[in-house]
Amino acid sequence: MSAAPAGRLELVRSLKTNTDARRLFACLVGGLVLALMTGPSGSASAPTSGFTGSILNPRVFGFLGFGAAIWLLMTVRHRFGDRIRAASDRVQASPRRLLPDRRLRYGIYAVVLAIAIVYPMHLSGFWQEVLVDQVGVYVLLAVGLNVVVGYAGLLDLGYIAFYAIGAYSAAYWTGALPIHPFVHLNPFWAIPFAILAATIAGVILGAPTLRLRGDYLAIVTLGFGEIIQIVATNLTGVTGGAQGVIGIPHFSIHLFGIRYAWGINNLPYYYLLLGFVVVVLVLFRSLENSRVGRFWTAIREDEVAAEASGINVLKYKVMAFAIGASTSGFAGMLTASKIAFVEPGDFTVQLSILILVLVIFGGMGSLPGAVVGAAVLQWAPWYLREHPILGFQQQDIYIYLGALLVVMMIFRPEGMIPSRRRRREIGLAEHGVGHADALSGTGPGPVA
């Protein structure tokens, strides 16, 4: 008789440590959470109605079943992991390793570019709009931030400030602001000035602060982002204040007999953006493989050793910052000219954080990662709005994004399309060798 109770306790204890059982529990809870996320909403006067409507309801069984199915998949992968992992590793490898033949690789890039040029012409006005305003601009922002965060390993939480500077430059040089420049330019010709202004801002912010360590740099850049927004809101005489400035002209070229004016049609902006993105990608790829790129890698992996090897760490950090800023400035300039309006309320800290999310989701330090990550996360909410599944509501999108991020970081912290080097760094760190990035290696703290 005494054996039975002890046996039951043993069972419970073994269940607590059995990884399969724990995974099942986690998956079932995950199913419940999914049921809650897709269920009806509550309100302050009826706070439990959302919970009861989603969970105390037959639909919850569907979600529990879904959780169980996921558990099954995970357990199978865990059991037969090695074979599956070997196969999936081959698929995940970076393009360069996959296709060592350079001509084949360039051929594929050419095909992708051709599709990128031709396909949008067949999209409806709405999807063209999404392609430019949501996907295109954010891809550019993600690629720029990728240089700062991914290449140089600097945590910038105020990236939108440079976007704002680009946008207000557009307004300034076209004479839309209360203060006027000595010559009014068409925004197309003001593009280099916007990029220059953003770059200078990057240097001004970076030079004194890039000496600070990772977490401190994060808070300072966050503060800078907020300061830019506040300054834009308060200096009504300079920036037009909270109401913003309307009437920024669209791009137009009038040169040597070539006349072209951008209007409200999205395609011309798309091609301008595409051109710029391609140039930027080529530039950044060559930077990545140049001496500067290697300096950045050295700084990212071990700053002290890099400094000891004679690299002027501050100079290259500021360079990364400035390059990232310039890209952001162009994006801001483009949007301001396209919408013909700029207001400070759009340049929020939350937006800076979102861009960081795009970069890391896609794969920090990886160009294809930044592009694909930004494209997917920006396109998905609008796609789901048009084709809602499971009671998806557009205003709940951040609930899904948040859950996705947590899950992503648990199962694939290197991002969707990681750079080869990052994958190796993270893989080694997982087995206890070295640190996964410069931020982890400093100060005391647990490794395991």
Binding site: S41, L212, I219, V406, S440
Partner: protein, 308 residues
């Protein structure tokens, strides 16, 4: 001089703000001490405390206006409820968003993104479930001026914050200095590997550290909500300011977090007598940058190991 007018008022208000910042900042600093990471989702712990306190007091008080001993009891109940809500969310956060990453030695940025994701998830879910409008916590006491000091009126509300905060700070100080848990926290903060060799259960210490930070942050959420109402987006700004305060005082340093919180509150309120409210954040970040340029590790320096 602009900041000598209304000086005493600025100090009183600054202390009230500062105590709230301090309570939230402690959550950041404790977690940073043991894990070297910014718990970006601490703002949602704060919010959860606010909602927990709201639901409890709303259910009990309704539309009555309590007095005397009932008021005192209700305030304590609200604080405990807020703390419990915050502690619970902090516990879940650590288990779901941080522990799996720790087990895999994930890069720091992965922790940061996971925290951001958890934060997005929590506050938007709160908005979905509890509505998007602000709700006010039924007041457990009648707010009025209790006494005046140097021309500054001290309201009941400020006293409640100050007393509650001081009690919690003293308890925390004793906890860290005297109890086994406190020793464990200090050990892990100082050198985790050695601590685990000495038999400290790191997982449990980290979890308990999160919970303690959550208790403080949740209580702060309730205290904040008493005057400002509770809403799903309430966490972002106070938590950001509190994190600034933690860095200002020296991240990882408990006394630094308290000092940073109080200093930031006072500095903000003093500066507002000179510059407008719309420049307040610029001032706060300006102070931070100056301090960091001069003393990169914060005023009291960063550490936790040596009993704060």
């Amino acid at each position: 001089m602009c900041f000598t007018q209304n000086f005493s008022n600025a100090i009183v208000l600054g202390l009230a703000d500062g105590f709230i910042y301090a309570l939230i900042a402690l959550g950041y600093t404790l977690v940073y001490g043991v894990l070297q990471l910014i718990n970006f989702a601490h703002s949602e712990v704060f919010m959860s405390g606010g909602f927990a306190g709201y639901f409890i007091l709303n259910a009990i008080i309704g539309t009555r206006q309590p007095h005397g001993a009932a008021s005192f009891g209700l305030v304590v109940l609200g604080i405990l409820g807020g703390a419990a809500g915050g502690g619970l969310i902090a516990f879940i956060l650590e288990r779901v968003a941080y522990r799996p990453l720790r087990k895999r030695n994930a890069p720091k940025l992965a922790f940061l993104i996971s925290a951001i994701g958890a934060s997005y998830f929590l506050y938007n879910l709160a908005g979905k479930e509890f509505g998007r409008d602000s709700v006010s916590i039924p007041s457990p006491f009648t707010n009025g001026t209790v006494f005046s000091v140097f021309g500054a009126q001290v309201q009941t509300y400020y006293l409640v914050i100050a007393i509650a905060a001081l009690v919690m700070l003293v308890l925390l100080d004793r906890l860290v200095a005297v109890t086994r848990l406190g020793k464990g926290i200090r050990a892990v903060a100082q050198d985790a590997e050695t601590a685990s060799l000495m038999g400290v259960n790191i997982d449990r210490i980290i979890s308990q550290t999160f919970v303690i930070g959550g208790l403080l942050g949740g209580a702060a959420g309730f205290l904040f909500g008493l005057s400002s109402g509770v809403v799903y987006t309430m966490g972002f700004t106070p938590a950001l300011k509190a994190f600034t305060a933690a860095v200002l005082g020296g991240i990882g340093n408990i006394r630094g977090a308290v000092l940073g919180g109080l200093l930031l509150g006072i500095a903000e309120n003093l500066s507002v007598t000179c510059i407008g409210f719309q420049w307040r954040d610029v001032m706060a970040f300006g102070i931070l940058v100056v301090v960091l340029l001069v003393r990169p590790t914060g005023i009291l320096g960063e550490r936790l190991g040596r009993s704060a």
